[in-house]
Structure formats: structure tokens, C-alpha cells
Subunit: 194 residues, 2 copies
DNA sequence: ACCTGAACACCGTTCAAGT
DNA sequence: ACCTGAACACCGTTCAAGT
């Protein structure tokens, strides 16, 4: 039998560990020394791959946004599929909580906004843009004939509501709170039904 | 004319500066050395008033929640006043953003949850409890006859949605985003109209 | 009762040096 | 190309010492 050996290079290891740390503890908790220990190199070596902590933070947000966009691209926005697509979308936020009560990487970074280097902030903004744009497209198919501005505002509202649901449910460390809140949003008509 | 001299004791100064720092930069950015510089004492002296950073964080969250509760107590929950009271409630979250793009102290602390000492976490939980309880009472008056659980879930949903609106608007550093999102929540019927 | 100076183990960052 | 050791100025914390 063939033995498969997965070799992950150092830079990818740093990104993987960094993502996990930020999603559970935030940007400030990201420690070059801790990452170095986990990877098995010295903290000074991290700077070879990411010159500053800001560079690492920006790389994490960029990768996170790119992954999100790749997922969104796989979701159908045909009217008949909108309920299911939105379900999948919400399931991503739910999965973060299910994974040791983690948060959306960019949601937690928004909270830390004032401490972030500009380069990180710019990448975090892009995450919001990508999400809102996708939701806006979805809403346009769901209820055609509305103005772009109208659709945009509802898209921002849905994104905000989901981020808030994740934040508060995380505070409770209770997935049921997230589920009940999403159900309440749907019952109110804030977002398309399943 | 009489000269009024306001003397604020050291402990109160520490709390005032600490609140401001946490609301704009979070718990991690709270630095004993920076506070000491602002107050005009040495960092070791802060430990006399608050033995650990956790004690200071918990005191900040406790004070913040107490202030919130005091405000909520002044708001009428009579059916005729519900729109206005909710307006005032939302205005508090808006005011934080208007104040140099600050956040709800407990909202930002929830995001940092995993880094918080237990003593801080407990106080943050209390803030959510106080807010949800008030909203639940309000909803009970607005639409009588619903089950407590039903009311509770909608109260959590409204609190989550408002926290999320504040978080995302902060990310955009744009009060108009907050206002439009709240308007969208109201239009959807998630919360009572003005 | 309140404050200080000095020490401790942490942090990101820099840089000359190694292979 | 990738890593290291040592130094730097930061951090919260402790504690003996001051008034």
C-alpha cells in the first residue's frame, strides 16, 4: 500500500494556527512566540514569513475572505434554491460556534478594529463587502424589482443580524441561542425562509 | 461667584479611563502603564486599587451594567411609550458609535471572551441578562398574551441584532450604516416601530 | 491608606550571524 | 532560502519599602 505523507510548509502551518487562535481569542492574543512553539521554530523565524504581526493578520483575513468567496461561489442563487443557499450560508457561522465556540474571524477583528494595523483593517472590510454583495444578489433574485440601494440595506441588515447572533450566542456559549435567534429573524421576515 | 472644584478620586479616574479604552480598543489594550500615565501615578499603584487586570475588567463591566440598568429603569414600558423607550434604548448604542466609533463595552468584551478571566466573563453575562430582561418586559407589554419563552427569544434576537448592527457599523466607521440597519429591522417587524 | 522602585517572565521587533 | 540568539522597549505582576 502506498503511504501518503502530507507535507504542510511552515508558512501554511503558521496561517492555520493563526486562524484558529484569532477565531477563538482575537488578534491581540496572536503571539509569535506561541505560534513558533507550535510550529517548532523560533519566534524570530516567523518574521521571515510575515515581517510584522500586521502582515500575518492581513494574510489571515485575506485568506479567510478568499475562502468565504470560494464557498459563496458554489451556492446557487436561483430563486428555487435561495432558501437552501441561505441555510448553508448561516450554517457556516453556526459551524464556527460549534468549533469550540469560535467566531467569524472578521467579526472578532471588527471588534478589535481600533487596535488593528491599517493593512488588516482593509482586509476585514473586504470580508464585509464580499458577504454583503452576495446577500444583495440573493435578495435581488428573491424579491426582484427593488432598487439596488434597498437591496443593499437589507443585505447589510442581514449580515449585521447574523454577526450579532453569533456574537451573543458566543457570549452564552450556547448554540441553541444562535438557532433561536436566526429562527426569530426568519419569523420576522428579515431574511428569506428556508 | 462660587468656584466649583470637582475632585475625582484615583479609583474613579482609573475606571473612567479604563471604560474609554475598553470601549474603543478592548480588554487587551487596557494597559496598567498607560492608565498610570494618564492618572499621574506609577503602574504598580494601580494594583493597590485593582489587584489584577481581571479585577479592573470586572469592575468596568459591573459599573457599565449598573449604569445601563439605571437608565433602563427611567424608561417607561407603558404600551403608549414603548416606541419612544425603544428609541432611547437604541440611541444609547448609537451614541457609543458617535463617540469616536466606540462600542458597547460588553459587546467588545464578548468578542474577547476566551481571553477574559472568569470574573470578567460573569459580569459581561450579567449585562446581556439585564438587557434581555428589559426587552422581554417591553415586548410583553407590546404584544400581550405570548409565552415567556417566545418573548425571551425575541428579546435575545433584538439584542443580538442591535449588537450586530453596532459591530458592523463600527467596522465601516459609518453611523448611517447603523441607522439604515435599525430601520431595516423595524421595517421587517423584528422590533416595535417608533 | 496610598504610592514607589526594582525585579520577574512575558511580548513584538530588529539584526547580525549562521547553514 | 530559512532559521537562530541576543538585544531592545514593551507588558502585568509581585513585593519590600517608603510616607
Amino acid at each position: 500500500m502506498e503511504q501518503k505523507t502530507v507535507i504542510i510548509d511552515t508558512k501554511e502551518q503558521i496561517l492555520a494556527i493563526g486562524r484558529s487562535v484569532v477565531q477563538s481569542q482575537g488578534y491581540n492574543a496572536l503571539s509569535f512566540r506561541d505560534i513558533a512553539k507550535a510550529v517548532g521554530i523560533k519566534s524570530a523565524s516567523i518574521h521571515y514569513h510575515f515581517p510584522t504581526k500586521g502582515d500575518l493578520g492581513a494574510a489571515l483575513a485575506r485568506r479567510y475572505t478568499d475562502d468565504a468567496r470560494a464557498l459563496l461561489d458554489t451556492l446557487s442563487i436561483e430563486p428555487a434554491d435561495i432558501g437552501a443557499s441561505l441555510d448553508t450560508y448561516i450554517a457556516v457561522f453556526r459551524a464556527a460556534l460549534a468549533n469550540e465556540n469560535r467566531m467569524c474571524l472578521c467579526g472578532i477583528l471588527i471588534a478589535e478594529r481600533d487596535e488593528l494595523p491599517d493593512i488588516v483593517r482593509a482586509e476585514v472590510d473586504r470580508f464585509t463587502d464580499v458577504n454583503v454583495a452576495w446577500l444583495q444578489t440573493l435578495l435581488g433574485r428573491w424579491t426582484p424589482g427593488r432598487s439596488a440601494e434597498d437591496l443593499h440595506q437589507q443585505a447589510v441588515a442581514i449580515f449585521s443580524a447574523i454577526e450579532g447572533a453569533q456574537l451573543v450566542a458566543r457570549g452564552r456559549a450556547d448554540l441553541a441561542v444562535f438557532d433561536a435567534t436566526i429562527a426569530a429573524y426568519r419569523a420576522a421576515g428579515l431574511m428569506p425562509p428556508r
